[in-house]
């Protein structure tokens, strides 16, 4: 595996593991982290979470990763992977600015 790929996987896996564990605990989901496919829809279809759950996810993203989800950005919460992309983008932006 190339060094670049290894780094991408390592960075992504770290955020995925944290987010899945938090999601399961905060929303009391009856799944293990391995059960949650990263592309599963969070709201409506898929996990079928509601607007209160969405608020909890936004708080989770802020508390765990220091990333603030803009009020009008509904695309972030579409799946676990879209949340992870957002968190990684925010982290990369912060690293670039510091």
């Amino acid at each position: 595996m190339s060094t670049n790929s290894n780094e991408i996987i390592k960075r992504r896996k770290e955020v995925i593991d944290t987010f899945k564990k938090e999601l399961i605990t905060r929303l009391n989901l009856p799944y293990t982290p391995e059960d949650l496919h990263e592309d599963v829809a969070l709201l409506g279809a898929g996990l079928g979470l509601d607007s209160l759950d969405a608020l909890e996810i936004v708080l989770c993203i802020e508390n765990c990763f220091g990333a603030k989800v803009p009020d009008n950005n509904i695309s972030v919460l579409r799946s676990i992977n879209t949340v992870i992309d957002f968190v990684l983008e925010q982290k990369a932006g912060k690293e670039k600015n510091s």
């Binding site: 595996m1 190339s2 790929s5 991408i8 996987i9 992504r12 896996k13 009856p30 799944y31 391995e34 059960d35 949650l36 496919h37 990263e38 592309d39 599963v40 829809a41 409506g44 279809a45 898929g46 996990l47 079928g48 509904i74 695309s75 579409r78 799946s79 992977n81 879209t82 992870i84 992309d85």
Partner: protein
């Protein structure tokens, strides 16, 4: 082979038909891009009568269905729909199911990959004979209405109240003194409805739906375009990746399973696989170059070694690229990596986060219209 009640209507509109597990369905009515644009920008009417539909009285239906499907039927609230799957004894997915709790009865609406004439025998083998079921498949037609403006059709037919129905809910409406069952569901990422229509009013209703669609610049679609729309929205497609992969855990369908249930068809096999740990996973892929096609079964290479195969693909007109799904070993099943398609030095493809598009319907709040 079973023929839909809407066969002649679609034939008059020059539809091309396909045999889908022994049911003849309109595959395509116009060209692919026109049908795609109808649903993404306005609305498309599709004959979805290939779906098997059964009605069960509440108590017997609950016991039977709960012993059959992976989801928890007892937890479906009145007026709501559970999206789950049916597996065989080996734990392989054989049907993608909606189950509605609707006015003292349960409605089962399925897309299956066993032949139509084998579907009822499968239910009977698994205890349906005691459930007092009614098979709607031959006497009802199912109309799919999907698209950014799909709601205009149901609003004109049934009134403004229909706009208040949340995703995955069902309701009954009258049309010419007959009952129609409406499912607010769909797998395109745009607004979607299924109308389950008795034979006596089927012709009148499909014509009326078509008239309303035309007034709103919509039209007719075949079932084939739904493969692309589902993939773009990352909805499970039993006819594509489902028919190839079959393992619900590799397909990422754990969310459709209630792991606390003691019994359902295929449970032991699924639990055995779950306990041994997931070794591969289906994830999204995208070509870098719009002219590079993703063929089903095409091999995917990483560091000169074959690691995966394409199991679903479509051209995304929104992304101007091919997108698809492939089953990767778990250690490589991450978004953001690059691979070679077809050979060690083939075209570059990327693994991506799904869904890759943002549908227009997500920006509309129906209850505020």
């Amino acid at each position: 082979m079973r023929k839909s009640l809407f066969y002649d209507f679609f034939k008059q509109h020059n539809a091309v038909f396909e045999n889908r597990y022994e049911i003849e369905v309109p595959k395509q009515v116009s060209d692919e891009q026109s049908e795609y644009n109808l649903i993404r920008n306005t609305l498309g009417i599709t004959d979805t009568s290939h779906m098997q539909c059964f009605c069960f009285p509440e108590e017997k239906g609950l016991n039977f269905l709960d012993s059959l499907v992976a989801g928890n039927v007892a937890k479906i609230r009145f007026g709501r729909i559970l999206h789950t799957f049916m597996a065989n004894k080996d734990g392989d997915v054989i049907a993608d199911c909606y189950i509605a709790n609707n006015d003292e009865e349960f409605i089962l609406l399925c897309e299956s990959i066993i032949n139509d004439n084998e579907f009822l025998p499968f239910l009977l083998e698994n205890g349906a004979s005691d459930s007092d079921y009614v098979d709607y498949s031959n006497d009802y037609g199912i109309i799919g209405i999907d698209g950014y403006k799909a709601w205009t059709v149901v609003k004109e037919l049934f009134g403004t109240d229909v706009l208040g129905l949340p995703y995955l809910s069902c309701e009954k409406y009258n049309f010419e003194s007959e009952k129609i069952i409406l499912f607010r569901a769909g797998k395109t990422s745009e607004f979607g409805y299924y109308l389950i229509v008795p034979k006596s009013i089927s012709q009148k209703l499909i014509e009326q739906c078509y008239d309303i669609a035309q007034k709103n610049k919509g039209g007719l679609c075949g079932v084939e375009i739904h493969n692309a729309l589902r993939l773009e929205g990352r909805f499970f497609n039993i006819y594509k990746e489902g028919a190839i992969v079959k393992d619900p855990l590799v397909l990422g369908l754990q969310w459709m399973i209630d792991f606390s249930k003691d019994n359902f068809c295929g449970r032991d096999a699924i639990f055995a696989k779950r306990n041994s740990g997931l070794k591969s996973k289906i994830i999204g892929i995208k070509t870098k170059d719009a002219s590079c096609k993703l063929n089903i079964n095409a091999p995917i290479y990483y560091n000169n070694k074959k690691v995966a195969n394409v199991v679903a693909s479509c051209f995304s007109y929104l992304l101007n690229a091919y997108v698809g799904l492939a089953v990767f070993p778990i250690e490589l099943a991450f978004s953001g990596l690059e691979f070679n398609l077809d050979s060690e030095n083939g075209n570059i493809i990327q693994t991506i986060s799904m869904p890759p598009i943002m549908p227009k319907s997500l920006s509309v709040k129906l209850d505020e219209l």
